[in-house]
């Protein structure tokens, strides 16, 4: 054995280096944990969370034209769009829109398919539920968007 590795071993240089690393990490600024309900994480803009149906901000009407492209694009066939033709305007109008988020994998293909930028994946991530009943979300829920849980204590 050559002399340098032997001295390394005798004086436990590597072990002391390790101690130095852990000692440095004690500084409070190194802490990585988030105090979750108090501090909310910064979500990336392109994060794919709960799908949302956008409305026209001026009129409050939905942007959906009931073209059914999203339902066709969905690989799991989770989207059901129902529509009827308005006899006055001769346009198709969406009557109901449901999405089963319990099976959704947030691939974003529906949002890509949407021709009017109505369906979009929001940054909302808080949709855990106590039973399976609420996982099929409807148009009203998707237009309301993010509903973060409020903790009082």
């Amino acid at each position: 054995m050559s002399i340098a590795p032997l001295l390394n071993k005798v004086f436990m240089v590597d072990l002391i280096k390790g101690l130095k690393v852990t000692f440095k990490y004690q500084h409070p600024k190194e802490v990585y944990t988030e105090q979750y309900p108090l501090e909310r994480p910064a979500i990336a803009e392109r994060y794919r969370g709960l799908p949302r149906l956008n409305v026209n901000p001026e009129t409050g009407e939905t942007l959906c034209i009931a073209c059914n492209l999203c339902a066709t694009a969905c690989p799991e066939h989770l989207i059901v769009v129902q529509s009827e033709r308005n006899p006055a305007t001769k346009r198709k109008e969406m009557t109901s829109f449901t999405l089963d988020i319990s099976r959704c994998m947030f691939c974003g293909l529906c949002a890509e398919a949407c021709s009017t930028d109505c369906l979009e994946l929001s940054q909302d991530y808080e949709f855990a539920l106590y039973s399976r009943d609420g996982f099929i979300i409807d148009r009203a829920r998707m237009e309301r968007g993010s509903e973060p849980t409020v903790y009082t204590r």
């Binding site: 072990l15 004690q26 105090q35």
Partner: protein, 448 residues
């Protein structure tokens, strides 16, 4: 009766030596409470320091910065279901945790927190400590055997092999320190200026360090340091702590010897483990780090008599400066908690916690101010330095655990038998040769 109580106050002996059972009982209760207090603080401190080293936060919810976490843990453990496996050997299963705690606490009989602050002083003190503390392994083996399960048995087997191997190296290191008490020279390299006290008593060992004006870690540098290093490694192995925690290796043996234990019995094992850590640390402190002596004890002069310091203000400015250390440490801790209280996020839900942290800081500052008062300041010196050194050792235990991975069993045996044992023999030999240097030189002269 009153005479009996007050008569001890004027004696300069430990209650055991003075034959005063009442004060001995008081000392036992105080030491029991104190060690349990250290275990409680350690419970919080370990989780917190370990968490910060792993860039986590650790307990934060029960009290400010999780300060009440040990209490919550205690309530949880006490109210948990007490499970005893149906195929277990019931009397032994019951006895094992009791045994571990009993052994861990009975070694504190001879631990000297100050020249008079021990339950008793035996003339075979260090031998008693080593003998009794090595009985602790019996509790672990009993737990492993009585559980009637594979993982505990494996843990107990590993534990017994490990303890037997490391006890030898530990003993050799201790003998080298005891030999040093018999060499009377002054200073790190003082040789042959009269024989020393040559004692096995815990108080005697510290007094020998005071008389020789050197902590034994610096005696015959680096011989004392190497002996201390051997002991420091062996003591981690003896207490089954990382990186030598094979008997309770989580990733291999679930929880090792206490896999089948839960609730109160499990907490007794934890209490025993932490009390054992304090016990072996206090052996190391007594033998090498000057026990209750403060740093640079040699500036005292030969008449070292710390507990009655306030009667001798002429003893110098260094003593005066060091006498502020306990108060300064408490005030620093108080400042630390005020600082953290100010850094707390301003959130209505955290208001009570912030107030609690301010109150905790106030309590610490109050204790610090009490420690500033001259009579308290001088009387607390020796106890403070001993506890301060214990705290340093406890921090080192956490630091090691956070840093180093567990040794493999063959590596453990290799370190014990092929490194520490020869090293210990060498240190003992070198200590003897240096200590008997003048005699050997004289003999050689006679031969030549």
């Amino acid at each position: 009766m009153l005479d009996y109580v007050t008569s001890y106050l004027h004696s300069s002996l430990t209650p055991g030596q003075a034959g005063n059972w009442l004060w001995a009982l008081v000392y036992i209760l105080v030491i029991f409470a104190g060690v349990s207090g250290i275990v409680i603080v350690m419970n919080w401190g370990e989780r917190k320091a370990l968490a910060h080293m792993q860039v986590r936060l650790g307990p934060m919810r029960v009290g400010p910065h999780g300060l009440m976490q040990p209490i919550a843990d205690a309530i949880k453990l006490l109210t948990k279901e007490d499970i005893m496996p149906s195929e277990a050997d019931k009397p032994i299963f019951w006895l094992a945790p009791v045994w571990v705690v009993m052994i861990a606490f009975s070694v504190f009989i001879v631990v000297p927190f100050g020249p008079t602050h021990a339950v008793t002083d035996m003339n075979i003190g260090i031998l008693f400590m080593l003998g009794v503390s090595s009985l602790g392994v019996l509790g672990i083996v009993m737990a492993g055997w009585a559980s009637n399960s594979h993982f505990p048995l494996m843990g107990a087997l590993r534990s017994s092999a490990q303890m037997v191997s490391y006890e030898i190296a530990m003993g050799l290191a201790v003998v080298s320190a005891i030999v040093m008490t018999g060499l009377g020279g002054i200073g790190p390299y003082g040789i042959g200026s009269g024989a020393g006290s040559g004692t096995l008593s815990m108080i005697g060992i510290v007094q020998a360090q005071a008389q020789q004006h050197v902590w034994f870690i610096f005696k015959f540098f680096p011989v004392g340091l190497v002996a201390f290093f051997i002991f420091a490694v062996a003591m981690i192995a003896e207490t089954n702590r990382a990186p030598f925690d094979l008997p309770e290796a989580e990733s291999e043996l679930v929880a090792g010897f206490h896999t089948e234990y839960s609730g109160l019995r499990w907490s007794l094992f934890m209490l025993g483990e932490y009390a054992g850590m304090v016990a072996v640390s206090s052996i190391a402190i007594t033998l090498w780090l000057g026990g209750w002596l403060r740093p640079f004890p040699s500036t005292h002069g030969p008449a070292i008599n710390i507990p009655f310091l306030w009667e001798h203000p002429e003893q110098g400015v260094v003593d005066f400066a060091f006498s502020f250390a306990p108060a300064l440490v408490m005030l620093a801790l108080a400042f630390f908690s005020f600082f953290n209280a100010m850094r707390m996020p301003k959130h209505p839900l955290l208001k009570i916690q912030t107030i609690g942290l301010y109150a905790f800081g106030l309590v610490l500052a109050g204790v610090g101010l009490i420690l500033l008062a001259p009579p308290v300041r001088d009387r607390i010196q020796d106890i403070f330095w001993f506890v301060f050194k214990i705290a340093c050792f406890m921090y080192l235990y956490i630091w090691y655990r956070a840093t180093w991975p567990r040794y493999r069993f063959d590596q453990l045996m290799k370190v014990g038998w092929k490194v520490l044992l020869p090293l210990g023999l060498g240190v003992l030999l070198v200590t003897g040769i240096i200590g008997l240097g003048p005699e050997i030189a004289a003999w050689l002269k006679g031969v030549v």
